[in-house]
Amino acid sequence: MTIPDVLDRALDISIGDRLDLVRRGRPATRSNVQLSYQSIFEPAFTGALSVPERFAVAVVVVRLHGDTPLTAHYEQQFAEAESRAEIIQTLHDVSDYGRTSGPFGQFREPALAPESTDGPRLEIRSGDRQVLGDELSALLEYAHLLVFRPRESAPAELQKLVDVGWTTGEIVAVAQLVAFLSFQIRVAVGLTVLRSTWKD
């Protein structure tokens, strides 16, 4: 695959430059990371979660990470899928009041209890919930859990998704989406920092 992929575009990598050569040193990783992106955001089987829902969750997840090299990409993709300004503004508001630091959380394991820490959990405000709906609101609260306190995952957290109608396949899809973004953002940040140290 020689064409620029999502990471190349987000990081403004040109064919043949030093960071391009680093990425092409691992061709299977390079192509499968792109394939992972496509399987989530350009799904061949759209049964589980609509594409606009996927990008809505992605916009919030990237914004929860602060200013990332991928934020503009997901903002743009979501804007193409969802034109209602009210929805976009509400997702930005949720991201702003959801932003915290992590990972934090209670450990389930007794020996790790002294390391347990606390922090704010996201609860979508009622006005925002009316704009977004219960289904998307539940996904965003779950995404916030996965971003900031994954060790507090529990059957009761999945039950909240089931209670508003999400199926097993849809829950697997959103878990993959948030988990993949957690990876992709860190690759983008890591490579950007690496490049920033180069003198040439």
């Binding site: 394991e109 971003v147 059957p155 829950i171 993949f180 860190r186 690759v187 920092v193």
Partner: protein, 211 residues
């Protein structure tokens, strides 16, 4: 162990849970129903990459979304298994164990601390990472890799030019540093799947085979 199933979600009130981080082998039980063998179609088999994984509840659960499972698995295999130059595999496993330690994924930490020990022969240093956490002191190179993986894992991100400089001064090349970044980044993916869809258990003692 008596699973309690209410609709789609299963909880395990009597599970034999691990007490903390360990290099011992652990099991993993799913909170959602894995795909049963009868439900597997061609795309699901393709998603597994390795068909034997249909027997493992983690992969059979992820097989509900087979296309992303396949791409995830092939990414995993290359980051942790491609020994064509770059960072030694033991140090990629060290990054995986470090990230799992930070995020609190006891299952992932058990697998990858064990791999790091097997590949490096440094079981005491790996155990110290599990026992003391990421502020542990081992040697200059491992300390720098552990700190880089930690900084890349926390949110807001703390990974900066000083982390790269430290690795560069230790003689790491671009490709080696990129491998360290990929290994740490990938476990921010894997931990979130393992933590969010099920939990670890201490397996029942097995009949030991005669050597």
């Amino acid at each position: 162990m008596t699973p309690h199933t209410a609709d789609l979600v299963t909880s395990y009130p009597d599970l034999h849970r691990p007490d903390g981080f360990t290099q011992n082998g652990l099991g993993w039980v799913p909170w959602l129903e894995p795909l049963s063998p009868a439900e597997f179609e061609e795309r699901h088999w393709n998603g597994l990459v390795d068909r034997a994984r249909a027997q493992m509840p983690y992969f059979a659960l992820l097989a509900h979304e087979p296309e992303i499972l396949a791409a995830r698995t092939l990414t995993d295999f290359d980051i942790f298994g491609n020994a064509d130059g770059g960072l030694p595999l033991a140090e990629r496993e060290l990054a995986a164990a470090t990230v799992s330690r930070v995020n609190g994924c006891v299952f992932c930490a058990s697998v990858h601390s064990r791999n790091a020990t097997r590949l490096s022969g440094r079981g005491d240093d790996v155990q110290a990472l599990l026992d003391e956490g990421v502020t542990v002191r081992t040697d200059a190179r491992w300390d720098a890799l552990i700190e880089a993986a930690r900084a890349l894992t926390v949110t807001p991100n703390e990974f900066g030019p000083a982390h790269i400089a430290r690795l560069t001064e230790l003689g790491l090349t671009d490709v080696e540093i990129a491998d360290a970044i990929a290994g740490a980044a990938f476990f921010n993916w894997a931990n979130r799947l393992m933590l969010s869809l099920g939990e670890p258990e201490v397996p029942a003692p097995r009949q030991r085979a005669t050597p």
